[in-house]
């Protein structure tokens, strides 16, 4: 057991160590290299032919050294990971050969129960390829000349991407003009469908490019892509565009609708527990053939004195045209009136899903009834009067 923990720790320690090593070894002769001093395992194995040659620049030499170091490091890490996995499998009484990452996560959650809130702070064991981000291959030859024409921008892959986008755009402009001259129109049937897609988020794009990009640079990327997609002939460069699109999850099918149960009076009912809004907490039961009776903590709708709260309760019922057809029972605690009303509203809407058709569920989703309102009170900040308000400014 201790060995595995050790391996987890080792992963972290070694990572720091290698970063320090990289930092320290930046001498005056490796300035060109400082921009991208990393290599993947693959490149290191491919380079020895270059090492044989006489003329090897200092930058290349330093790079090769560092690459070899990284390579060795990754090898030891992988070895440790395999040993750790084997121990874990033995402890859990499973076969080490068929022990998957899921099993590892499960075993760690079982053997090291952690109450830490942030999931990233909990103990974990993952393969070193996942833990250590990918590094760039050699970007220059043995004489120190960079391969890429945009090497000195510092972010060659990113600027190459921008360049490619503009090239595609210009191509489409030309095409449009030629088609106009011929009197052709873009094909409506082939139009690019981007409704279910999203441009790659920044972190994913960074992983694709193996480069860190600034927010404004990501914005440049999105602007250029948006322009490309909006062109009438954008379907001609579909293959290029789709490389930078990510499919979105279909929201309407995300939540499973529970089957209603039958109570002793023969009525269908659904109970939704944990209806939360602000600091209020409720559980709501909706029964199907009903007369529109509403019970909140043993009282009727006059439990709420303000009109707005009463309206909130009736909102999902009225919207789904189930007002007067179902009975609602709710228990609420915590929070104020508006929070309690919001919690019950969400509970009613969630329960009503079992009694209405799919189209109505989608309507309710678009009306924002099925989204949990997770906004909370904003904290007061020091040096300020409240969350946002500043103290009155006085010169002296």
């Amino acid at each position: 057991m201790s060995l595995r923990v050790l391996s987890v720790n080792l992963l972290k320690n070694n990572r720091n160590f290698i970063q320090n090593a990289v930092r320290n070894s930046k001498g005056p002769g490796v300035q060109a290299l400082a921009l991208a001093p990393y290599a993947t395992q693959v490149t290191v194995q491919a380079t020895p032919a270059a090492v044989q040659k006489q003329k090897v620049s200092k930058a290349m030499k330093a790079y090769l050294e560092r690459a070899k170091e990284h390579d060795d490091f990754m090898k030891t890490q992988d070895l440790e990971f395999q040993i750790g996995k084997r121990h874990l499998a033995n402890m859990m009484g499973a076969d080490a050969e068929t022990f998957t990452q899921e099993d590892i996560d499960e075993a760690i959650a079982y053997l090291f129960p952690s109450g830490l809130f942030d999931k990233r702070a909990r103990p974990a064991m993952r393969s070193p390829e996942e833990v250590f981000p990918a590094r760039k291959a050699a970007e220059f030859d043995e004489t120190g000349r960079p391969f890429h024409s945009m090497f000195y921008t510092g972010k060659p892959n990113f600027f190459q991407l921008l360049h490619d986008i503009v090239e595609e755009t210009n191509k489409l402009y030309d095409l449009e003009e030629r088609m106009l001259r011929r009197g052709n129109k873009p094909d409506e049937n082939q139009k690019l469908e981007t409704a279910g897609f999203q441009l790659l988020p920044k972190d994913q794009l960074e992983r694709v490019l193996v480069e860190h990009i600034a927010d404004i640079e990501y914005q440049n990327f999105t602007n250029a892509m948006d322009r490309l997609i909006s062109l009438p002939y954008s379907y001609k460069s579909k293959a290029f565009i789709e490389r930078y699109l990510k499919p979105l999850i279909d929201q309407s099918k995300q939540l499973e609708v529970p089957k209603p149960k039958i109570d002793d009076q023969g009525r269908q009912y659904i109970t939704t527990y944990e209806c939360l809004r602000k600091t209020a907490r409720a559980d709501v039961t909706v029964r199907l053939p009903g007369t529109g009776k509403i019970t909140i903590n043993g009282q009727d709708i006059s439990y709420f004195s303000s009109e707005e709260c009463k309206e909130q309760l009736l909102f999902p019922l009225n919207y789904s045209e189930m007002l007067g057809k179902v009975d609602v029972e709710a228990n609420v605690e915590g929070g104020g009136p508006s929070g309690q009303a919001g919690a019950i509203r969400w509970g009613i809407a969630m329960s009503l899903r079992s009694f209405v058709d799919q189209e109505m569920i989608e309507s309710m989703r678009l009306a924002g009834l099925l989204t949990r309102d997770y906004r909370r009170r904003e904290r007061k900040k020091y040096g300020q009067e409240g969350a946002r308000r500043k103290y009155t400014w006085k010169k002296r």
Binding site: A195, G196, Q198, L248, I249, D250, Q251, S252, S306, E307, E308, C309, E311, Q312, L314, F315, N318, Y319, S338, A341, G342, W346, E359, E362, S363, R365, L366, A367, G368, L369, T371, R372, D373, Y374, R375
Partner: protein
């Protein structure tokens, strides 16, 4: 500064059939002033928020309902007293409020721009949102400036009724502003140069 990520859509109460494009977009939760009851009005909600003082929204709501009641009472009185022209009198107080705000909306505004050490009052077009805000603010300002004996709903009702037929202090204020913009038109180019 919203809690929601930027790709979340605003909730909409329309029940349409063709929404294939919307099925992938997550929706923000409906706020607690949204409702599909027949008494719901977007403009009304905004005005309630402007009337509210120190977070006492229920009082603001009460005041607006009272205003609407007063408007309706006076309009019905007028309807009874009117002899022949009964069609011209609108009784729906929400419609009257809408008319009043539409009438009071400004097109231009003066903003001070400093050029060469001198501040110029430069006419600048007002955005739609801001124009609605200004119209409602002027209505409320006019209503709040009153004698001690007059209750806010009463005064607000008068102002709304006045503005709805294109008279009163609010409309005068709008016209004054427009006139000032007109007289300062010579400085209009300072907006971009």
């Amino acid at each position: 500064m919203s809690m929601y990520p930027s790709h979340f859509a605003e909730p909409s109460l329309k029940k349409e059939t063709n929404r294939s494009s919307a099925s992938h977009i997550p929706v923000k939760a409906a706020t607690n002033d949204l409702s599909d009851s027949i008494f719901y009005g977007e403009l009304k909600n905004k005005l309630i928020k402007y009337i509210t003082k120190k977070g006492n929204k229920s009082l603001a709501r009460e005041l607006l309902t009272e205003t609407f009641e007063t408007i309706k009472r006076t309009q019905i009185e007028r309807l009874i007293l009117a002899g022949t022209e009964k069609e011209n009198i609108i009784i729906d107080s929400e419609q009257l409020l809408k008319n009043a705000i539409e009438n009071a909306r400004p097109l231009l505004q003066l903003s001070a721009i400093k050029r060469g050490g001198v501040k110029y009052q430069v006419p600048v077009p007002v955005t739609e949102k801001k124009s609605y805000f200004l119209a409602m603010k002027w209505l409320l300002d006019a209503a709040r400036e009153k004698d001690r004996k007059v209750h806010l709903p009463e005064k607000l009702a008068w102002e709304i009724l006045d503005a709805a037929c294109g008279q009163g202090r609010v409309i005068k204020k709008k016209n004054d502003l427009h006139r000032q913009c007109e007289s300062n038109r010579a400085y209009a180019h300072y907006r971009w140069s």
